[in-house]
């Protein structure tokens, strides 16, 4: 039980560091640590398939893509834009109001039923694969078209236009 609270504290701590770090590279490294704590959450919930997918897709693919983009656009600290102090205060205030509103409207401080894993192999690959390829076969196939169109779109957007390139 205390494992969950320790990992939850680490998640919140690293996600605050993500948005406050001055250097974007440090932000990305803290984001990797945040996603690692999410992987530990998935393992604690015995969702082993999601833990592995989170590890490979998020920490392996998406964050490497972020790091590559940052390397390509070559930011330095002098060009790092900073918002005015009042805007920052207003942003933090607005986010805090959102958290308080969510917590109070859902009565989150009240006691509730504990999360109990009734079926121990709920999140295993075998069980999820049966659900995915029976009930969700059409969305699975459609998502392949989504990935293909995203790939074509990314290539089209990121290549230089030969007419406008000087």
């Amino acid at each position: 039980m205390s494992t969950f609270y320790f990992i939850a504290f680490l998640s919140i701590f690293f996600s605050i560091l993500v948005i406050t770090a001055k250097n974007p590279v440090h932000s990305i490294l803290y984001l990797i640590l945040t996603f690692f704590t999410f992987t530990v959450h998935y393992i604690l919930l015995n969702a082993q398939f999601l833990a592995v997918v989170n590890f490979i897709v998020y920490m392996g693919a998406i964050l490497v893509l972020f790091l590559y983009t940052l390397m390509l656009i070559n930011l330095n600290k002098e060009s790092e834009p900073v918002k005015p102090f009042m805007v920052k205060i207003a942003g933090v205030f607005g986010g805090g109001i959102l958290a308080v509103a969510l917590a109070s409207s859902l009565k989150l401080v009240a006691t509730s039923n504990p999360v109990i894993l009734k079926n121990p192999d709920l999140g295993l690959v075998k069980n999820l694969g049966k659900v995915l390829f029976n009930e969700f076969l059409l969305p699975f196939e459609v998502s392949s078209i989504l990935l293909l169109s995203a790939m074509v779109g990314a290539v089209l957007l990121a290549t230089k236009d030969p007419k406008t390139a000087s």
Binding site: I43, A47, V57, F66, L70, P81, G95, V115, I116, L128
Partner: protein
């Protein structure tokens, strides 16, 4: 693995919702207070992950595997979104030589 999953038994569902709400709010704050387009993008990823964690917790709570399949689809969607979004950021950087979103407030050059 049995001893590991036994540790979760006493955690109330509300604490999972609270954790996800806090991390989602941190993501909203990140979008509001930063001007670097890449950091704003990372805050959006943070919000997506908070929702993923909550869907998994609900899936375990209800004993229904559909929630975890939804998380799988959200991850595929996030991969597509990141590819297109980062391509747009690279294109913006090539045109304006910065990733400051205040340069883009007129949406034209």
């Amino acid at each position: 693995m049995d001893s590991l999953t036994n540790t979760i038994h006493a955690v109330p569902l509300n604490h999972y919702i609270l954790l996800s709400a806090i991390i989602f709010s941190i993501g909203v704050m990140g979008v509001l207070i930063r001007r670097n387009a890449i950091v704003i993008f990372m805050s959006v990823e943070l919000m997506l992950n908070a929702v993923n964690l909550l869907l998994t917790a609900f899936s375990v709570y209800r004993g229904d595997a559909s929630g975890q399949v939804f998380v799988f689809f959200i991850m595929a969607l996030a991969a597509a979104e990141v590819a297109v979004g980062l391509a747009i950021i690279v294109m913006i950087y090539r045109n304006t030589n910065s990733v400051d979103i205040n340069v883009l407030n007129r949406l034209k050059w």
